[in-house]
Symmetry: C2
Subunit: 339 residues, 2 copies
């Protein structure tokens, strides 16, 4: 075995927006798998807003990435050597390989995926963590029901676009908030949202009033900040706010902006509830089955934004915070064999 | 009928803390009750933090008090004339008489109370709206269960003191936050709280860490502001935060302080939920029966802070915001007959 592994390691804890010097790009040899281990060649990595949180030295739902370690990342790849009876050479697997070209694993957290059912990148998008987050967040945490008015932020993103499409399937009125005309057009023209609000151009509060004439029953929040406050002003009795993320606040150096209008929860007997997709890991098969069915039936679309090359990791990650990606952001680390 | 009625009317919408000129004190004659009406002599008025919200010109769970109108107020009194078959002269009734000495009513919203079961002021306290708020807020919205660590703010207040006592009855660890040594001593020595934090003297975050070694499962919030943020930092997985009020913010002229640490809801899959006691009106008998039982059994104490004279209404109301009352704040408008 004479393989070189390239890795993106966390070199320093970022203050605010991560910069080049917070990362190191390292080469090291790959050793043979030991008994029980499997060697996976990474094909695609998932770039997710949650990564920013993992880089902070702060108690959270999983421990921070230690400085010096390979950056934690979801991804998928192909088994190229195996001393683990559960995996055979050639198997495609999804899991948490980290930001590197090869990963040696005891197989924990990796599961097989079938590339004949959907293109590989979809397994990190609508059929992956973002799709599952949308599915369980909207249906379980959000308790959505027919005729609800559902608002979702970062609506053209990996999670938001699936949230909106599932809400349409569940017969809701769906309003998406996204940045830029092109994304907004995509939501209404391609994904069937009832309305889209361009937060870069429109006053969100006013636009919500127009597009949600019966108020807001469910808000799926990926952004926090002023948009959360604008929504809180217009929620209905018994509304449910799913706190999935707060990307507008992740690179804040100062104190985070809390929702000034949170007392609207009181007036409206409404609920604000956080969700972490890890809690639903045992129910992934259910979510994947249902979303795959909708994709097959042409009722749900997945869109990916793919950047080539592991070495592009640092600057690619920033696209999530500037909103420059359009679709699930992924890095293609290597081409699929035969393609 | 030659009775003069004195009334406290809202003269102007207050900016920040209500001042003398926001009120007028008016005298007008009382007319005879018409068919179906009942004339009630008001004995006690309830002074509640919610009143501050009713004075703002803002959509809320009930309409604002119109400028010029008698100030809305809960209270109780005695029927002195009746053309309503449901009420007899001499009946004691509780309801929403407004800040005045006499009220003519069709009986709507008034219900009879039995002064032989508890002193009248208790019917505006543990057996009234504050007690019901504590009961349904903690048990329904807060979903409290044995061994939970429960934190309550404004803990020596009308709602908070009952919240803490019910939580003790339900076998929780109970920590109260209150202002001043005397109130804190009252919580631990008289009401059986496990710990009390004097927010005027102690750093609340640090004190919580000491008194909640197993984290916080339920927070019953009456105050908002920095204390809410301090609690959010220490909640457990699946914690429930009951938003009952935010007295620290009610007289804010600027934007309200939202909870900067609200993303702790996400990390901990926790819930923040608002409650309005009006929703539980149909279940008052259940709550009153249970609390009356606990009072009789000596397991729950009610404490009232009574100020004499309707004309004291404006300055008495301010005590709620300075924390100068100790117990449920009430105004005795008139003495009970025979006493």
């Amino acid at each position: 075995m004479n393989i070189k592994n390239h890795q993106v390691r966390l070199a320093a804890r970022p203050v605010g927006m991560p910069k080049a010097s917070d990362w190191s790009y390292v080469e090291e040899p790959v050793r043979e798998p030991r008994e029980g281990e499997v060697l996976i060649k990474v094909l695609y990595l998932s770039l997710d807003p949650a990564m920013r949180g993992w880089m902070n030295d702060r108690k959270s739902y999983i421990p921070p990435v230690p400085v010096g370690d390979v950056m934690r990342a979801l991804g998928l790849g192909q088994v190229i050597a195996s001393k683990n009876p559960k995996f055979a050479v050639g198997d495609y697997v999804s899991g948490m390989p980290g930001a590197q070209e090869y990963v040696l694993s005891d197989g924990g957290g990796f599961f097989k995926i079938d590339p004949s059912l959907a293109p590989l990148p979809v397994y990190l998008s609508a059929l992956g963590m973002p799709g599952m987050t949308a599915y369980f967040g909207l249906l379980e945490t959000g308790q959505v029901k027919a005729d609800d008015t559902v608002v979702v932020s970062a609506a053209a993103g990996a999670v938001g676009s699936v949230v909106g499409q599932i809400a349409k399937i569940k017969e809701c009125r769906v309003v998406g908030i996204a940045g830029g005309e092109e994304k907004c057009r995509y939501l209404t023209d391609e994904l069937g949202f009832d309305a889209a609000i361009d937060y870069k151009k429109e006053a969100v509060g006013q636009a919500l009033r127009k597009s949600c004439p019966r108020g807001i029953d469910v808000y799926f929040d990926n952004v926090g900040g002023d948009i959360l406050d604008a929504v809180l002003e217009q929620i209905n009795l018994g509304a449910r706010i799913v706190i999935c993320g707060a990307i507008s606040q992740y690179n804040n150096n100062g104190p985070l902006k809390g929702p000034s209008n949170y007392l609207s929860l009181l007036v409206n007997r409404a609920t604000m509830k956080g969700m972490i997709i890890l809690d639903y890991l045992p129910r992934y098969p259910e979510g994947m089955r249902e979303i795959a069915g909708w994709i097959r039936a042409g009722r749900l679309k997945s869109r990916e934004h793919i950047v080539d090359g592991l070495e592009k990791f640092p600057e690619t990650l920033l696209m999530l915070f500037t909103g420059d990606n359009f679709g699930k952001l992924e890095i293609r680390v290597a081409k699929e064999s035969g393609s």
